[in-house]
Each structure stands twice: as structure tokens, then as C-alpha cells.
């Protein structure tokens, strides 16, 4: 599957909506995640307080980011970690590749990291001829399929069991011929086990960076991060600078929020703090440890007044609850980060010019903000990006004219009401049994779904009628 581009958003959406099973496949996972999250929150009456605390941890760290970054650098170096700085994704990828080349690495294992995707590390490794082994099961599936990820927690959610059966039969050395999901997972277990143990370098992301100890923290349910990191001689961490928290005690409230919001579990099975290379005589562990701290647009978000977005702990709850995401899936966004959080992030990681359409796809229903464990006001941030996009004249001319015409109309109530009444009559002409299948000027909507028939009267007509009825009833 080719990777979609953010600038082709409308075309990507058209293609996604034309896939007959996609919506069903996506909803199978997102609906379950939604239900399980609701249960987890119901069982955690202190959630609101935890959420406020989580927000405070992130806001505090962002406020003193330079202080905590310097602390982290000092303490990580004291543990024996080599700290690298990268302003851009390209630079970060190059640093990782250089380390791999220095160690003449032939094979690297990777545990899931959205930052790794963001900085284009997969492609960089593939292009360098180094064998890249994705060890998270979902990443393993999409690596075999040649797909980009479609969700930040379940990157392979767009792939059905039938797809996985085909892929494993084609690529696994000792594949299963069973169609049971348990057997498919076992097949991947067999295939990946020797790769874990023979890798030259393990590359991971980091869910949290602890400033007071220089530690990085990985959080997984599969345990693949530890298997990726421990056997090879070298461990490389790539992490965005916003992953900082002051200490392990400050990571704890975020850990409580992360799992409940992501999968509806109470805690992930494996939380590991990595503190540099192995100590003398340690039974296992890498001899060398590098960490690449990546900016890639994050300081720009600070400068642009988007610092609230730096609170994001990548739980995916906003996309699981997003009506747009549930219809079009992750690939349509054309970015590593889909859904509401992606629509705010991508304009900063790429540019607003190429990713402004995503900001308009939002219905502003506020569900994402409601479920975000660190209270990120996603609709507000999206509206700010829309305003910026308008100021910079990124919208197509037709849209600009329509909005301007609407603004003129909205300033003239009588004219507005007259045009609305005509609109209702016009729409009724195309309606059959309460639905409009097609109508001039609405192709964008009716191409993939029907339009509901409007009420017989406009809102103002109904409002006046009800007011009149009330006043005559009261007499």
C-alpha cells in the first residue's frame, strides 16, 4: 500500500470511503476501545482528579522545558548514555543510521515508536540496506504488508484476520495453517524469537523521559521492548523532547491515565525504566546506550501558542472517539498521526499549507477533548489552525467566496431567512422518503452518503411559531 500524502486529503478520503469493509474493520477496534475505556473510567472515580494532575505534570514540565532538558542530559550522561540532539527528523534519522554504520549493524530490531515513524526511520533503515525487524505484532504485520500505520496504538487495525493469514503464510519461515488468532500470534512469536536474539542493535522509542535520573521508560503489553533492547550490544532511543517529566513519581499519574485511555486496561503489562548501558557484570543488557532527543517542530509549537498539544501522551483515545476517524480510518490523513491529535500535530511537523484540510474535517463535536486524559483542548487548537489557514489564504478560492457570501448573508437576517426558506423548498424537491440521494452542489456529501431531508420550515420559522403558540397559550 502506498503512503498517502496529507495534501491529498480529499482524494484519500474518497478512496477510504469507497473501501466497503474499512469502516466495519475500524469500528470493530475503536468501538471496543471506547466501551472498555468507559468501563475503566467508571471504575476509577478519581479519574477527573488524576486528569488534572496529569495535565499539571505536563504543563509544569513544558513551562520549565529547558531546565528539565538540561537535567535530563546531565543525568543520562552520568548513567553512561550518549545524548544526541536533533532539530529535524532527517537529522535524527541520520544520527541513528550513523550509529548503526559505526557498529556495522546488519540487523536491527525495533519496538513500536511513533516518533520513529515521524522521523522516517523505517525508510532510512530500509534504504541503507540494514535489515529492519519490527517486533510489535501490529508493526510486524504492517511491515510485511508494506503499509504505513493507521492508528497510534493499533497500527494494523485496518488489516483483517484474513489479511494476516495470507501475510504470515507468505513470509513466515514456519507458518501456521490454522486460521485461529492464537495460532497466528504463535507463528509471529516463532518467527520473531530468533530475530530478537540475533539483532545487532535494538531501537526503541520512549513513553517518558525522567529528568532527575536520565532514564527512558517504555510501556508495552507484549514485552517486545525489553526483548528488543536487551540482547543486542547497542540500544538507541529516539524520543521527542516533550516526553520529559521531572521524575518517576511524576510519570506515575500519567501511567494511570495512559493505559485506561488507550485500551481500557488499568495498567500496561510491562513498564520498564532504562538507565543507560549494562553495569559491570550485569547478566545481560546492551553495552552502549544512545538517546536521540528530537525537536522536529515541537519548539515551533511552543512558539505558535500550541504548547497544550505538547501534553499529548499518545493514548489514541481522541481517534477512538472521533466520528471522522471512525469513517475514514487513519491512512486518509496522510500522516503518521491521524485523527484529532494528528490534525493538530501534522501542520507543525509538516506544514499548515499541506495539512490544512484535515483541520476542516473536524465536526467540532468536542468528544476528543472530553476523553483526552491530559485535557488538550483539541477543538480550540483546530479552530486556531483554521483561522491561521484562512489568514494565510490556504483555502481554495471557491471556499473563500462561499464563506464570504455566507458572512454577508448572515449579517442580513431578512435576506438570510428568505434564502434559507428557498433552500428548504429546493432541497425538498430532491427528497425521497426523508433522504436526498443527490442534488446539485452537494456532490461532496452525497457521493458516499445520503443527506437527510430538511424540516419543512426553517429554524427561525419554527422558533417564531413556537413563540407565538406559547404567548397565545399563556393568555
Amino acid at each position: 500500500m502506498h503512503a498517502n500524502k496529507p495534501e491529498n486529503f480529499y482524494q484519500n478520503v474518497t478512496e477510504a470511503l469507497a473501501q466497503p469493509d474499512l469502516k466495519m474493520i475500524i469500528r470493530r477496534t475503536t468501538d471496543k476501545a471506547e466501551t472498555k475505556r468507559a468501563e475503566a473510567i467508571a471504575n476509577f472515580p478519581e479519574f477527573e482528579k488524576a486528569r488534572q494532575q496529569g495535565q499539571k505534570v505536563k504543563d509544569h514540565t513544558i513551562k520549565y522545558m529547558d531546565h528539565y532538558l538540561a537535567e535530563f542530559e546531565k543525568n543520562a550522561a552520568a548513567q553512561g548514555t550518549i545524548v544526541h540532539w536533533a532539530s529535524t527528523g532527517e537529522e535524527a534519522s541520520k544520527i541513528v543510521l550513523d550509529i548503526c554504520r559505526q557498529h556495522e549493524a546488519k540487523k536491527v530490531t525495533r519496538s513500536k515508536s511513533m516518533l520513529g515513524e515521524e522521523i522516517g526511520l523505517s525508510h532510512a533503515l530500509d534504504n541503507s540496506g540494514i535489515e529492519r525487524v519490527e517486533t510489535d505484532l501490529a508493526e510486524h504485520i504492517i511491515q510485511l504488508a508494506g503499509d504505513p500505520p493507521s492508528h497510534i496504538v493499533w497500527p494494523a487495525m485496518h488489516r483483517s484476520r484474513e489479511d494476516v493469514i495470507k501475510l504470515f503464510r507468505e513470509f513466515h519461515k514456519d507458518p501456521t495453517y490454522s486460521e485461529e488468532i492464537t495460532d497466528l500470534v504463535r507463528s509471529a512469536r516463532r518467527d520473531l524469537r530468533t530475530k530478537f536474539l540475533t539483532s545487532d542493535i535494538g531501537i526503541s522509542g520512549s513513553n517518558f523521559l525522567l529528568a532527575d535520573s536520565g532514564s527512558s521508560c517504555t510501556v508495552t503489553n507484549e514485552g517486545n521492548a525489553e526483548l528488543t533492547i536487551t540482547p543486542p550490544k547497542v540500544h538507541i532511543v529516539t524520543a521527542g523532547i516533550e516526553k520529559l517529566v521531572p521524575s518517576m513519581a511524576h510519570a506515575v499519574p500519567l501511567l494511570r491515565l495512559l493505559t485506561r485511555s488507550a485500551t481500557g486496561g488499568e495498567i500496561t503489562q510491562y513498564i520498564t525504566f532504562h538507565n543507560g548501558p549494562k553495569r559491570p557484570n550485569d547478566a545481560d543488557g546492551p553495552e552502549e546506550c544512545h538517546i536521540v532527543l528530537v525537536d522536529n517542530g515541537r519548539t515551533k509549537m511552543l512558539a505558535d501558542g500550541m504548547e497544550e498539544m505538547l501534553r499529548c501522551i499518545r493514548c489514541g483515545a481522541c481517534m477512538n472517539h472521533c466520528v471522522v476517524y471512525k469513517h475514514i480510518g487513519g491512512h486518509a490523513y496522510g500522516s503518521v498521526y491521524p485523527g484529532p491529535m494528528g490534525s493538530v500535530l501534522t501542520p507543525h511537523l509538516d506544514s499548515l499549507k499541506v495539512a490544512n484540510k484535515q483541520t476542516h474535517a473536524c465536526t467540532l463535536n468536542g468528544r476528543c477533548e472530553e476523553v483526552c486524559p491530559v485535557n488538550i483542548p483539541l477543538p480550540k487548537l483546530l479552530r486556531a489552525l483554521r483561522a491561521e489557514s484562512w489568514q494565510k489564504k490556504y483555502e481554495p478560492l471557491t471556499n473563500r467566496y462561499v464563506v464570504k457570501a455566507y458572512a454577508q448573508l448572515a449579517k442580513r437576517p431578512r435576506m438570510f431567512q428568505f434564502v434559507s426558506s428557498c433552500g428548504v423548498v429546493f432541497m425538498k424537491l430532491f427528497s425521497r422518503q426523508g433522504w436526498i440521494k443527490s442534488m446539485p452542489f452537494t456532490g461532496g456529501w452525497t457521493r458516499n452518503r445520503d443527506l437527510i431531508e430538511p424540516e419543512s420550515k426553517t429554524f427561525m420559522q419554527q422558533y417564531k411559531a413556537s413563540k407565538k403558540a406559547k404567548s397565545s397559550g399563556g393568555r
Binding site: E222, P231, M248, D282, L302
Partner: protein, 227 residues
């Protein structure tokens, strides 16, 4: 490492942060106080435990099925471990062999007919580790890497038995964070500190939970009274 490039990037990032938030105080006391104040809220922002007593809360959590793939039992003393292990192996119809962590308190026990040194690189094995701590809030055990603790012991076997001294079971993750900070103050931070709460699982295929994705499929915690 290209030091020149690295320093330039570092400077660029710090300058950009300073330019974006120029008014922020850099008074260390203020920063530390703010950070401490946030932690003071933890008491009101964490879940209730299933019992007041930490070991009881941990057992209740596991027995309620809230810790994936995990069972537990309490034994009176270390000498009871071989018997418990035998019962575990019988329950899952496993051969009389496992990898017992190389620590004297476990190695010195009377394992009788059990072989205690299997090759973990083979799949389908049983491992047994000595956990440093337990955490009631999450049903976790905590292991620290060391010369006697290969981290892979906890991730390669298909079955994992963890032994936790009862006195080392903590109420909350926050309590463990405090201990970790004390260890750091003594300059003894191990390379890895792993909080393990259940078994290796995945829901990546059609959202169906499968245990034993890469590591253990079944885990058993044995709490030892007399430690």
C-alpha cells in the same frame, strides 16, 4: 558523534525554547516546589485498593482476574517453594524442569527431582525469578537487572513464576517511585527496573486478546510470608 553538529542542534533547540517562553523563572527552589506540590495531589488522584493491607490488596486484585494471565498463592516459607513449583508444573502438564534465577536463596532450596537450569532460548520453558517488590495497585512485581538477574529471564519463558517477599509488597506505584529515588540517591540505580503486571499479550488481530505474544503466556506469583 559529530560534536559540532550536535552542539549546534542543542543550541538551536534551547534557543527556540527560550525564545518561545522567555519569562519563565529558573529559580531552582521554585521549580522544585511546584513539582512537589503536584505530587501532593497523588493521594486524591489514584484508585482505591481492594484492601487496606497491601499484600491482601495484591492477592485480591489477582484473584479477581484483573491481572492478565496471572494467579497467585501465599506460602509460609521459602522451603515451600519446590512444592508449589511442582504443583504449578503438574497443573499445566509441564516436564519437571525450569530455569531458576541464579540467586543463593532460590538455588539453595531442595529442588529434588526438578532440573533447575534449562536453556531459555528454547520456547515453551518455565522461568522463576526473585522479585524485588510487589505493587498492590497494579498487581505487579518489580525486577531489577543485576549480575544475578538477567532481564531476559522474565521475557523469554512461556511460563513465569515470580517470588515476592510479603514484606516488600507496596501499596501504590508512587511508593515504588519513592524507593527508586532512594536507590538513585545511593548511586545504585540498576540498568533496568521492570514493573510487570500480567503476561505478554496482544489485541492486534481483530482486537482479540491473545496471551504469550512474545513472552510469558501464564504467570504465577508466590508470596513468601517469612521474608
Amino acid at each position: 558523534m559529530d560534536n559540532k553538529r550536535n552542539n549546534e542542534s542543542r543550541e538551536r533547540i534551547f534557543n527556540a525554547i527560550k525564545a518561545a517562553a522567555p519569562t519563565v523563572s529558573m529559580d531552582l527552589d521554585i521549580i522544585q516546589k511546584e513539582a512537589q506540590d503536584i505530587l501532593a495531589e497523588s493521594e486524591f488522584a489514584r484508585p482505591k485498593l481492594l484492601a487496606e493491607d497491601a499484600p491482601e490488596a495484591l492477592v485480591n486484585r489477582i484473584n479477581a482476574g484483573l491481572v492478565i494471565g496471572t494467579s497467585c498463592e501465599i506460602v509460609a516459607s521459602l522451603e515451600d517453594l519446590p512444592h508449589s513449583v511442582n504443583q504449578f508444573l503438574n497443573k499445566y502438564s509441564l516436564p519437571p524442569e525450569l530455569k531458576v534465577q541464579n540467586v543463593p536463596k532460590l538455588q539453595s532450596l531442595n529442588w529434588e527431582s526438578l532440573s533447575i537450569d534449562v536453556d531459555l532460548q528454547k520456547d515453551n520453558t518455565v522461568g522463576m525469578c526473585w522479585a524485588e517488590y510487589g505493587v498492590a495497585e497494579t498487581g505487579s512485581f518489580v525486577v531489577h537487572s543485576s549480575p544475578e538477574m538477567p532481564i531476559l529471564l522474565n521475557f523469554l519463558p512461556l511460563y513465569l513464576i515470580a517470588v515476592i517477599p510479603k514484606s516488600k509488597i507496596l501499596h501504590y506505584m508512587d511508593d515504588y517511585a519513592l524507593i527508586a529515588s532512594e536507590i538513585a540517591n545511593r548511586g545504585e540505580t540498576p540498568r533496568n527496573m521492570c514493573l510487570i503486571s500480567g503476561v505478554s499479550g496482544t489485541t492486534d488481530i481483530e482486537g482479540v486478546l491473545v496471551q504469550g505474544a512474545h513472552g510469558p503466556e501464564i504467570s504465577h506469583i508466590i508470596i513468601v510470608e517469612d521474608q
